[in-house]
């Protein structure tokens, strides 16, 4: 299998094939790693590569995996290479959808349609878990839509503001 993987803006092509019971050969951009893999429960996997042991905990997410390893949480975006490069999804430009990152209540809507906003400018204030959190513009642009009102409860992923 060939995958395109992305971690925090770093992209790599990973080619993996089974090379024995619990053994895999992984080529990362031309470098080859032999790894011995053993499942340790539903989420944890124990890996040994070149004599070094790695204890990882892996969780499936849409579009990839979250890997807990050596105290770090690493989001690995993954796509089978035949289906197009990961980078395509990271394209800039076009409308930007600002969505609710979590369920909560909107306590303030700070912008209206037609208004120009700068990068980092506050768009709405959400209350969740007793804290007020300001959701900010990912980039400069004009507000095309702000289909929300103060006091409204929203679910994760709800469109808060559409920038053009």
């Amino acid at each position: 299998m060939i995958y395109d993987a992305a971690v925090d803006g770093w992209t790599v092509r990973a080619e993996v094939r089974a090379s024995g019971e619990g053994r895999y050969t992984v080529r990362l951009d031309g470098r080859t790693v032999e790894v011995d893999v053993h499942d340790a429960g539903p989420h944890a996997i124990s890996m040994i590569a070149d004599g070094r042991a790695y204890d990882a905990v892996v969780e499936r997410r849409d579009g990839g995996y979250r890997v807990l390893l050596r105290g770090q949480a690493i989001e690995v975006a993954l796509m089978e290479a035949s289906r197009g490069a990961v980078a395509a999804r990271r394209a800039a430009g076009g409308p930007a959808r600002v969505q609710a990152p979590m369920p909560g209540k909107l306590v303030r809507v700070l912008v209206r349609a037609g208004e120009d906003v700068g990068a980092g400018q506050g768009l709405v204030v959400m209350e969740a878990m007793k804290m007020e959190n300001e959701i900010r513009a990912p980039r400069a642009g004009r507000v095309k839509e702000a289909p929300v009102r103060e006091g409204q409860a929203v679910e994760t992923g709800a469109l808060l503001v559409l920038l053009e």
Partner: protein, 503 residues
Amino acid sequence: MTRLRKVLIANRGEIAVRIARACRELDIESVAVYSEADRAALHVRMADEAVAIGPAPSRESYLRIDRILDAARSRGADAVQPGYGFLAENAEFARACEDAGLVFIGPRSETIALMGEKTSARRLAVEAGVPVVPGTLEPVDDLEALRGEAERIGFPVMLKAAAGGGGKGLRLVPDAATLASAAERARSEALSAFGDGRLYLEKALVRPHHIEIQVLADHHGHAVHVFERECSIQRRHQKVIEESPSPFVTPELRERMGAQAVALVRKAGYRNAGTLEFLVDAGRNPYFLEMNTRLQVEHPVTEMVTGLDLVKLQIAIAQGERLPFAQEDLRQRGHAIECRVYAEDPAQGFLPSPGHLVALRAPSGPGVRDDSGVYEGGEVPIHYDPLISKLVVWGADRAEALARMQRAVSEYAVLGITTTLPFFDRVLRHPAFVAGDIDTGFIERHRSELFAPPAEDVREMAVIAAVVRAMRERASARAQPSAASGTGSAWRAQAWRDLGRPR
């Protein structure tokens, strides 16, 4: 002396679990209360009895004095332990307990009113000869008056909730232009957290340390301090890592702050465990901020270095017992560090991350204590503070404690929600933290290093883990075509990536 038989715990989460554990060790029965969102919460499972007190929003459950007192009466409790937050510093609640003939495990209601109201506490501190940060000694209600006071004290200033604590309703105001919006936000936050939107002002000190003194006082006029906790690592003005002893505090400063704390406690006629919070400036001058008249979140740090059990001591004091030691019997031994494990995403400005705990593996081994309020398969509800656990370690000295905490954090695995653990790994390995060079601006100042991408080898092995897992899942899906291929829960992180990152 009243021997308590049954204690109602007017709280939830890890602190309710902590109190239930103390009760069990003392052979006292515990009564949990729970909202509709918490029926399956750990604190309910850990108690001897449990009573439903209303819908999920805390204003309709954990803040309902009438329902909590009804619960206490119906179960025949003889005492109430409020923990921290919710009603812990609500004088009306303490008075209602007293009136109902229940022992309130805390100070008298008048003392809560006196010390819990931050401006009267500051006035009392001045009378007791304890220095305070320059600011208003009274709550200031209207915006023009706030502006006038701020100009008099000089910007930057801190806006604070008169009834506050825990960082709620707190705002740093750098200049006059931002005062109005900060005041509005602080007022609305204070109103929703404490039901009291009154604010006051203090001068903001430059690069201050947040250091607090733990005290214990009994009903017989006997008061001691139990040394300091260094609480300078904060986000949103809320502590996330604490330690004791403070690497910044000299023996002389410790003795001075301890004596000031005891003087103020005596002046207030205080009894119970309590905490006096100070800001200490770069010249090691302490300024009293406020007193928390209840158990503190980070109390385990003190327990680890003194060997005391503060929750049991609170019960002993409430039973009218004398403190079983004098000041000179107390020693700090070794070093303790606490990390507050929050269901929050540090990369998104510490946005709360509630949800289902798909997997939970807590660390263990020498010197490790995990005061958790959750379990694998359980939920972190959206309605409450997102603290899921307090990870605490002890070491013979700071270096050992630090290495132990790094080790423990790397063992801690939480899936399903995002936590502050990976962020703590960065903080604990940062050269400035290792050197003990910490103040309340630490996270902001070192933001770029703390949020740097993972090291190359870790990143590579993470990719290998992901591709091997992907290939195995593909193979097993092919072997069992009926089994769900499992697209998993929405990759919330992806949605969040589209959001603006906070400055």
